[in-house]
Subunit: 199 residues, 2 copies
């Protein structure tokens, strides 16, 4: 315990890791704070020092852990790929391969948390909406670069970006319910065909 008391940033990280994991896997309302205290090894006082309320914790989970997950799974591959189409295909491919390796479909962290908190808190919902907007923005920026370089037939980059995010989010919802990653593969192939045709 002494080591933990002397490492407040380590404790904050452990709490966020545990909360991200449980909120996405099980749900925000369904996770008792007591479980997160036990899992992170925090005393009540240390926990409350970092996160005075469950809502403060959820906001940090969204703005820190969920934002990181969206950046790693989607924004970075799209930004680094030669074209939007290749970036989108790579993001789908890595996620589908990850689900197949895990043998379990845990679902998209943003989609899962966004839908739950939408009914519970306007500020949490706005934080989730901002991440969806950032994700769409990265895809739209890449699509506009493709358009400027003549690599795509004319399309509305904002609408196409919303459609890619929708196809992925909705595919993950179906895959999670059925515990079947092949639904993600089917939608990845359709998204690719649609982008190949110029959106």
């Amino acid at each position: 315990m002494t080591g933990r008391r002397n490492d407040p940033q380590g404790l904050r990280r452990r709490i966020l890791d545990a909360a991200f994991d449980r909120f996405v896997a099980r749900g925000y309302a369904a996770t008792p704070l007591q479980d997160l205290r036990a899992e992170s090894g925090a005393t009540g006082g240390a926990f409350a020092h970092h996160f005075p309320t469950k809502k403060a914790l959820a906001l940090a989970v969204i703005e820190d852990r969920v934002a990181e997950a969206v950046a790693r799974a989607w924004i970075e591959p799209v930004e680094r790929a030669p074209t939007a189409r290749e970036g989108v295909a790579l993001a789908f491919e890595r996620i589908a391969a990850g689900l197949e390796a895990q043998g379990e479909v845990r679902g998209c962290p943003l989609n899962t948390l966004a839908l739950e908190v939408a009914g519970q808190d306007a500020e949490l919902s706005a934080a989730a909406a901002a991440l969806f907007a950032r994700w769409r923005g990265a895809i739209a920026t890449k699509l506009r670069a493709d358009l400027a370089a003549g690599r795509l037939r004319p399309l509305d980059a904002e609408a196409a970006a919303a459609f890619v995010v929708a196809a992925y989010s909705g595919a993950m919802a179906q895959a999670r319910a059925a515990q079947d990653p092949s639904l993600l593969r089917l939608c990845a192939a359709e998204t690719d065909r649609w982008l190949a045709a110029g959106g």
Copy 2:
């Protein structure tokens, strides 16, 4: 109360209506049974007679109310339309017009509940997965009829149906987070363009 006691099916309906409403708007875990008892005017004993557990209530909500919502919003318009493309466009249009009239985006009942219960109970999740499959099945059946009649370029009807459901579900998730029905309109237009091009 006498009238209510003499109308067990009416009481069951009121409980299901209240539960559907709260589970979709606020969440399954976040809704105390006590609120549903109060709203439906049920005594504890009468409530427990119809729904001995919260899970039994959630299963009935999914298999009865959510199934009805999917049938009315999607399966019936698609089955009755001349083509899958027209049925899909009509479903999107009615839902978008409804959101604009309400001035509030409550989200897709199936998507919202499916993502939450997936982490909490395998039987509830399987019930949600069965509704997704029925929804995809209705669209795939219509697409196969269009293919047989030469009204569509060759496509994989199962994959295309999963893609339509994904595009809609993911569009509603973004629209709900941002409280902005225009995200649904954008994705409806992209889905229509994709189907017009033959999937």
